[in-house]
């Protein structure tokens, strides 16, 4: 970018008339100030989010066991004993979503970048992006009235044949279990993972691809030898972005999962798990005083987890951008 720098007048002397007459000097200063101010406001907002959450959850963090006993929904547990199963439920549902969504996303991104006819590719990309535009409450309603009934016979069969493995034991009829919630989450994080991976795949140097094809490889071999090695860090960071999304998703889990506060791996049993976000949405309307503070403390934990995951993902992306041959 070309910058026309005008040397500032030395202090203590009236600026030379030529400089003060320079067109738009005042405007330049104001505009630069406003822009920089906007940038700094972003930092302030982020700091305020963390600050106010800490401020409100401080009473909950420092409270004694007797105080916790007055909060109805904690059922006599301490703060850590209350948060631990919630963190576990959050991680478990996100992990299920990730296990389903990542392979699918890689395949979809490949389909759009390397398999679909070039002219259709962009339109197909929009279709996947539309999945991201649908409000989460609509996903919740769809999950309850369409997906859960569809999954029921499949889960029943799974539990019947593989029920001796604890993972699949004890399925009960309405499939309001963590597996269903994870599947809906997978659908919801699919677009962001796909979009990120697609970008990376499209950046694969064409020469690598053509060299591979010229050596006689099939399309799949070309993808394995040229596209995947190039996109590996992109896939990892895209998965982490998806993980960040899944961790904080509220409505789908709230509407589908029948809640419980246990730490176990019964994926098909309802009433075992609950996620932090869904728990907050569920309890918040009735909570007051210390109860609200405890919920805000769980929110702070969620904020810290997603912040860390996203920071790591962005760091991987940024590192890749510096060293990749494409940029």
């Amino acid at each position: 970018m070309a910058t026309v720098t005008t040397p500032d007048a030395p202090p203590g002397r009236a600026p030379a008339p030529r400089l003060s007459d320079a067109p738009g000097r005042m405007g330049n200063k104001v505009f630069a100030g406003v822009s920089t101010g906007a940038g700094i406001t972003i930092l302030i907002i982020l700091a305020a989010v963390a600050g106010f959450l800490i401020l409100r959850s401080w009473p909950a963090i420092t409270a004694s066991q007797e105080d916790y006993d007055t909060v109805g929904f904690m059922q006599g547990k301490g703060l850590w004993a209350y948060i631990a199963p919630l963190i576990f439920g959050t991680l478990l549902s996100s992990l299920i979503a990730l296990i389903i969504a990542v392979p699918l996303s890689i395949a979809i991104a490949l389909f759009i970048s390397h398999y679909a006819p070039r002219r259709a590719a962009q339109g197909l990309g929009y279709l996947v992006d539309l999945l991201a535009a649908i409000p989460s409450v609509v996903y919740g309603m769809w999950g309850m009235s369409w997906l859960v009934p569809q999954l029921q016979p499949f889960f029943a069969w799974l539990s019947g044949t593989l029920g001796f493995i604890p993972l699949f034991a004890d399925f009960q009829a309405p499939a309001k279990n963590i597996m269903s919630a994870g599947i809906v989450l997978a659908v919801m994080i699919l677009p962001i993972i796909t979009a990120t991976i697609r970008e990376v795949f499209l950046q694969t140097p064409r020469l690598h691809e053509e060299a591979s094809l010229a050596l006689g490889s099939t399309r799949w071999e070309m993808i394995r030898m040229a596209v995947f090695p190039f996109g590996r860090s992109g896939i990892i960071s895209a998965s982490m972005l998806g993980l960040g999304r899944a961790l904080g998703e509220t409505m789908a889990v709230l509407m589908i999962l029948s809640p419980g506060f246990l730490i176990n791996f019964y994926l098909l049993k309802p009433g075992q798990h609950q996620s932090i976000a869904a728990n907050i949405a569920n309890q918040f309307p009735e909570a007051s005083g210390l109860g609200a503070d405890v919920l805000i403390a769980t929110g702070l934990a969620l904020f810290a987890i997603t912040f860390g995951v996203n920071l790591l993902a962005r760091w991987i992306i940024a590192r890749r951008a510096e060293f990749s041959g494409a940029n």
């Binding site: 405007g27 989010v49 279709l127 609509v138 769809w142 399309r219 920071l311």
Partner: protein
Amino acid sequence: MTTTTAPVLQRAGHLPRWAPWVILAGAFVAAFLLLTVISEPTIASVALVGGILFVVAVWAASRAVEGPRRAKDRLATSLVTGAFILAMIPLVSLVWIVLARGASLMSWDFLTTDMTGIFGDMREGGALHAIIGTLWVTGIASLISIPLGIFTAIYLVEYGRGRLARAITILVDVMTGIPSIVAGLFAFAFFTIIVGPAYRSAFMGAIALAVLMTPVVVRSVEEMLRLVPNELREASYALGVPKWLTVVKVVLRTAIAGITTGVMIAIARVIGETAPLLMTTGIIATTNNDPFEGRMATLPVFAYRQYAQGGVGVERAWAAALTLVAIVMLLNLVARLVSRYFSPKGIS
């Protein structure tokens, strides 16, 4: 091609072009017959079993005729295409179910009445108050985050150098990942500490949405500004135009289509947010036109509450969901059209 040119690949021959289609048809017929023998065939089960049969059969046929490398390639092609079709199932079924269920209560009356005096099994009542509330909340959030986002993007592209710019870039990225419920908790904590514990208003929800919306606006506007060629800026400077006028009249004007698209997609993203509004603006049965005082209904919260209520509420919820999905899809569509028809040629 003869077998002499590429002996490794074409060792034994080549499947004719029609072969996969024949195998596809065969797989579905076989799946149907198989399922009729075992149990009742449904569309889902036939598609599932047929799909698996097809993938296996193509692989086997190709392996027999074309050799293992080609077979693997075909297997990958079927799996990748299958994954895409699988991903379309939620989209299609979701749009279908929203249209089908939402249509039962959707009418002009639904869009123009609120829920005042509606109770029990009454089928009257509508979402007017929720639509108005959604407009208020999203409107205020947009008023805050669009200027903030655009100026931040200008800072990052035109002015930002060094540590501060790098920090802002990273933190904007991280901010895109803030869970919506955390944004709601922030607005709640902020207003309960500053104003008072019982304060609820549309403004509170708008602040929460602005936290979610700003980073999205920054990201997309920044991307658009970076696409503006440097030659345009330099030409403007060469004519003696000051920097700020160059940004306003050259850079922003060149990127305006892209910025509009980005902003509309950002609006579409927050207009359906439910969780942060659940705890800030809440729900109420009547129309509230004061954004700074009192609860206000919004479409997503209205849909959620009506759905949870059951009975006629479920139908109302679907109609509200239909309204919401229609708004979101419309915003997305218009955004795409704007970027397609109004962006300057040569940069897209």
